[in-house]
């Protein structure tokens, strides 16, 4: 497959160009918009060649950080160093080495995707011949349609092609998978893996934890303009809270409750009898799921739903301020932290 070949080729180049140092260094970055403090002394570093994810709810400051890195907005205080240069003083040369996908992607509609990409190729780093077509093919994107006729997902693909086409050393992607169908999300994730293997650095934001888990090595959690924590993905997985719902026959609610309550990480447990005679248990489950599976393995389980951990409830729930924890997070959180 030719696109793989291209990536590896450029990858070697980036390795040799110097994998040393950090791709991004953000130091006490603050930004005010009038009376709103969009960022409060945010600090983190992104090593070269890694995939760094920022997650947080809308309005947490993800987009503001990215815009500051690209010098689209100017920080009130603090600084950001991107690929070794101060973002504030860096000129076009720096931005040629970056691929950027804005969060609220807006593209000109009156021309074809191909012409639009040609325009962005005119003002970005050098684009290898054929690379645009390879990427478009990969995302099943028709470049000869007018942009205005494209669906939201297809516009997003154009934005992604635009960000990746010049094999930039650093990719800054704001909510890259929004609007993409699951198949294309997977394609995007595999592209991210390839460019990382090639030594390119990826800085992406999302409010979907599963996406960040699959793509990123390290995750920063942002809330109200502050970095709440920076953690490895494995670490994050440990703290993630899942929702579970199961039904089993031949066991009364009290007995099921007793069996599940003993387990570490189970919270908000509610057991009740259903009209069918079966017993249903609803709870949250934090950390490893193996003990839970073992505990129910001897039961006559008729239904089991273990939901993907959700950012809103798991991560933010864990790190939210006391006032915020009163907000609805799951049916019952019990006395658990």
């Amino acid at each position: 497959m030719s696109h793989v070949d291209t990536t590896h080729r450029s990858g070697r180049q980036h390795h040799q160009a110097g994998a040393a140092g950090n791709a991004i260094e953000v130091v006490e970055l603050s930004k005010r918009f009038g009376r709103t403090r969009a960022l409060r002394e945010v600090s983190f570093t992104v090593p070269r060649g890694g995939v760094f994810g920022v997650i947080g709810p809308n309005g947490a400051g993800k987009t503001t950080i990215m815009r500051a890195l690209l010098d689209i907005i100017r920080p009130t205080s603090g600084r950001a160093t991107v690929l070794g240069e101060d973002s504030r003083n860096a000129g076009p040369e720096l931005r040629r080495r970056i691929g950027f996908l804005p969060g609220e992607l807006s593209l000109e509609g009156r021309i074809t995707g191909r012409r639009l990409l040609q325009h962005y190729a005119d003002i970005s780093g050098p684009v290898p011949r054929g690379h645009i077509d390879e990427l478009a093919e990969r995302f099943h994107l028709d470049l000869d349609s007018h942009v205005r006729t494209l669906s939201r997902g297809n516009k997003q693909k154009l934005g992604l092609v635009q960000a990746f086409m010049h094999n930039p050393e650093l990719l800054v992607l704001d909510e890259p998978t929004s609007g993409l169908d699951p198949l294309m999300q997977q394609e995007f994730l595999s592209l991210v893996k390839e460019v990382r293997a090639g030594g390119q650095t990826v800085f992406l934001s999302s409010h979907v934890i599963s996406e960040v888990q699959q793509a990123a090595d390290v995750v920063a959690i942002l809330r109200d303009g502050q970095v709440v924590t920076v953690a490895g993905v494995e670490q994050l997985r440990q703290t993630a809270v899942r929702h579970l719902r199961m039904t089993a026959t031949g066991i009364p609610p009290a007995e099921l409750a007793e069996r599940l309550e003993r387990l570490d990480g189970v919270g908000g447990l509610v057991c009740r009898s259903l009209a069918s005679g079966a017993t249903e248990a609803v709870a949250t489950l934090e950390g490893a799921i193996r003990p839970f599976i073992q505990a129910v393995s001897t039961l006559a389980v008729t239904d089991l739903v273990l939901e993907e951990p959700d950012l809103e409830e798991s991560v933010l729930g864990l790190y939210s301020a006391p006032a915020a924890s009163a907000s609805p997070v799951g049916p019952e959180r019990g006395g658990r932290p």
């Binding site: 080729r9 450029s10 070697r12 180049q13 040799q16 160009a17 918009f33 815009r67 690209l70 010098d71 689209i72 907005i73 100017r74 000129g91 076009p92 040369e93 931005r95 040629r96 080495r97 970056i98 950027f100 804005p102 609220e104 992607l105 807006s106 593209l107 000109e108 009156r110 021309i111 040609q118 325009h119 962005y120 190729a121 005119d122 003002i123 970005s124 780093g125 050098p126 684009v127 290898p128 011949r129 690379h131 645009i132 934005g159 635009q162």
Partner: protein, 290 residues
């Protein structure tokens, strides 16, 4: 296959095209080129509109302005109204052409076009969210502002040239008996006034990041100037308003009859360049898309 060193070299120059085989060719002045070609349909539309106006109005001169009946009619109208409509010199070919084309329908068309272009160039582009992505690429804000200003200026110049050509073509058939040198000068004023309106629109758009403010700023120069001129014409007490009317700077002296006032030419083009520079500075300082 190119070696990594060669590629890196090409990368560091940011100019892959010159290596000849590996990279997509890049346009020399992409922002200007795009801003200019994006509007070509609109430009043709405005040109056609202008042409239609010229071909409708000017051939009527022998039966309108030059006819004794029309002059009688104008004589019966209140003097203030005649002055407001710029009909006081309608009896001559140059007065008629100025009153109908350069001072009225042509002025309206080119003002709308230039204000639209100016307001869209930065304010509209920022409002739509597209400017953010452009500025995230390998361009400076000053480059973007200057090249878009230049694209707007070129479009305005083309309309002014078209105005010259059309009026010149119709000069003989419509028996206007125009002085060609004065026609050139009038077209320079015509384009200059439009450029000032467009520059004001661009500056206000760049300052606010909103298209509507750009339109407001441009319209203030165009419409405000027209109104100040019309009110200033009413009485000697109000004549001081002419000093604040770009419209009066252009046409108060009847350039098609008497030649251009070069101070006005300087004011239009100098003022536009200053507004363009202020636009670049304003854009450089601002947070985009917030």
């Amino acid at each position: 296959m190119t070696t990594a060193t060669e590629r890196r070299h090409a990368d560091s120059r940011g100019d892959g095209a010159s290596t000849g085989r590996e990279y997509v060719r890049r346009a020399p002045v992409p922002i200007f080129g795009k801003a200019f070609t994006d509007g070509w349909r609109a430009l043709i539309g405005w040109a056609v509109g202008f042409g239609v106006a010229a071909f409708l109005y000017l051939p009527l001169f022998p039966s309108m302005g030059a006819s004794a009946d029309m002059q009688k009619l104008v004589d019966t109208m209140p003097a203030a109204l005649v002055k407001s409509l710029n009909y006081d010199q309608i009896g001559t070919g140059s007065g008629y052409t100025q009153a109908t084309i350069f001072g009225l329908i042509g002025f309206v068309l080119i003002s709308i076009a230039s204000i639209g272009w100016g307001a869209a160039a930065l304010g509209g582009d920022e409002e739509s969210g597209q400017l953010e992505l452009t500025l995230a690429h390998g361009v400076t804000r000053v480059e973007v502002a200057v090249q878009r200003f230049a694209a707007m200026a070129l479009k305005i110049v083309l309309i002014a040239v078209l105005a010259f050509v059309l009026v010149l073509i119709l000069d003989g058939p419509a028996e206007l008996k125009l002085n060609v040198a004065y026609l050139v000068q009038t077209c320079i004023l015509f384009g200059g006034l439009a450029l000032l309106c467009g520059s004001a629109a661009m500056l206000c758009g760049a300052l606010s990041g909103r298209r509507v403010w750009g339109i407001g700023g441009g319209a203030f120069v165009a419409v405000g100037g027209y109104v100040f001129n019309a009110i200033g014409n009413q009485s000697a007490d109000l004549e001081w308003l002419h000093a604040f009317s770009p419209y009066h700077w252009a046409y108060g002296n009847y350039p098609l009859t008497n030649g251009a006032d070069w101070t006005s030419v300087l004011a239009f083009y100098g003022g536009s360049v200053l507004a363009g520079a202020a636009t670049a500075l304003a854009l450089r300082r601002r947070d985009i898309g917030v």
